[in-house]
Symmetry: C2
Subunit: 288 residues, 2 copies
């Protein structure tokens, strides 16, 4: 059950998915209702803009730490139904950090080469290096969502994959990567509006795929697959957050704050160097 | 020899490196003198900011084209001495495009795995997909620069690598990738100032590597290696541009305009779709 909180300080605990007796009921997580944070588009955009400089500073420090030998990084996993706003978060939130500090990868339908390997193979190749913020637009979770809805794997394999994922993520965390998993939670009605908008705008027609309607018909199956996957993989070390995403401005603000708070907790600092600065300056001086 | 031009329209021809009788003399290319474009920091920043929206629009169209089956992409290769501003270009120019449309890769000293393969292996894994702008912070050119200065390859191998690179790039271009290669041209004196700045600012100390001074001592050898490599690989299909880079604001503006002009020439358009929009809208309508 989501906790109620009016303080931004507790955004993570307010949005975190905590399975009760191993079960998640998505009805407990509103795509629209705001329990904490700004309550208008304007306030939200202003707050997000203020976040930009802090995100850049924190990531730069984390990277500097990495150059000095620390192995810490952050991995932001974005999952959600079509139109839920994975690209929007990347453009409006991750974009604040700047391209040098982020490693972004969109995972599409697996290629032939990718299918020839286990489902984590392509994931492991795209993990963030020290000091970097990695961002996954879709992820290894597709392999316990699409595959389940389309009956490509059976129950035993599904459960095995949950365990594999939990072990994999626990290993990442142990090696210094903080994992933030965001379920961008939109409603069935909001998805309709966004699909219609793609049809109404000629410059967005190309984003429309007729398959989107077929997948939309399986909405209840997807909700069930999400609920089960979230319940099985929202762990202490790598929890899921349900981001109310019917309002784009709230969604962006919330992911921005989760990222900022995570980085703040890491408290990255510019490393002390053992440079002999006066001597180096002499060496750099032009010859007389 | 660089051509003189006062028109922004001709920036590419003004900055293009055209070997004469197969030779490039870097003395012909000033790191500081501006032959075309804005002549003040303020004008330059304003012009670059104006470029942002156009770059986003052009890249979005190129990507939409890619979804519709076109295979066009752009590859921006950034090379230059330490402190020449490769990261700065990525943050201030590539950052304008937004993270969804760019694929950025910094090539550092090759790893053991990378060294076990031919020098283009790691490059080929990071090429931009359809509709994307790929950006290389250092590149396969390190393998005809660092290796030459440090006597790791002999002349025969160096010449063989130039040919391999030219064939590789010609293949990229034939397959739909427009290649823009920028040599960020800074002076020996400007490098000193930038290295000193890293020593003077505690939050920049971590960027300072004592090896940078050792490499700096080989400035003439690097200039020679660059001149030879640029002469051998500035081809009709994949030319090099010498970007005057002693002034950061001019450097950023110039790369931004090269990128913009390249995208304009590609003239990407939103694809016509064969969607039956009225029918799709009916299918999306909620049941009565």
């Amino acid at each position: 059950m989501p906790k109620k909180s009016s303080s931004t300080k507790n955004l993570r605990s307010a949005l975190r998915i905590d399975p009760e007796d191993g079960v998640v009921d998505l009805a407990d997580y509103s795509p629209r209702k705001i329990t904490t944070g700004p309550d208008s588009r304007k306030a939200s955009l202003a707050a997000l803009e203020d976040l930009g400089a802090e995100l850049v500073d924190l990531q730069t420090r984390l990277y500097a730490d990495g150059v000095a030998g620390e192995q810490r990084s952050v991995l932001l996993v974005l999952q959600g139904m079509d139109t839920s706003g994975k690209s929007g978060v990347i453009d409006h939130v991750v974009g604040l950090v700047g391209p040098e500090g982020t490693h972004i990868r969109a995972f599409k339908k697996p290629t032939e080469e990718e299918r020839a390997h286990d489902f984590l193979w392509r994931i492991k190749r795209e993990l963030p290096g020290p000091g970097m913020i990695g961002v996954f637009d879709r992820s290894h979770y597709e392999d316990v969502l699409v595959t389940v809805v389309h009956d490509q794997i059976d129950d035993a394999e599904r459960l095995r994959r949950y365990r594999t994922i939990n072990e994999f993520e626990a290993g990442l965390v142990a090696a210094g990567t903080t994992v933030i998993k965001c379920f961008l939670n939109i409603s069935y009605d909001e998805q309709r509006e966004r699909l219609l908008a793609r049809l109404d705008d000629e410059t967005k027609n190309w984003k429309f795929n007729v398959d989107d309607i077929t997948e939309r018909r399986m909405w209840p199956e997807y909700q069930k697959a999400y609920a089960e996957a979230l319940a099985a993989t929202s762990t202490e070390v790598a929890p899921w957050y349900a981001i109310p995403s019917d309002r784009k401005w709230y969604r962006n603000w919330a992911v921005g704050v989760l990222l900022r708070d995570t980085l703040r907790d890491l408290d990255p600092r510019y490393p002390k160097t053992d440079l002999d600065i006066p001597q180096l300056k002499r060496r750099l001086a032009p010859p007389n």
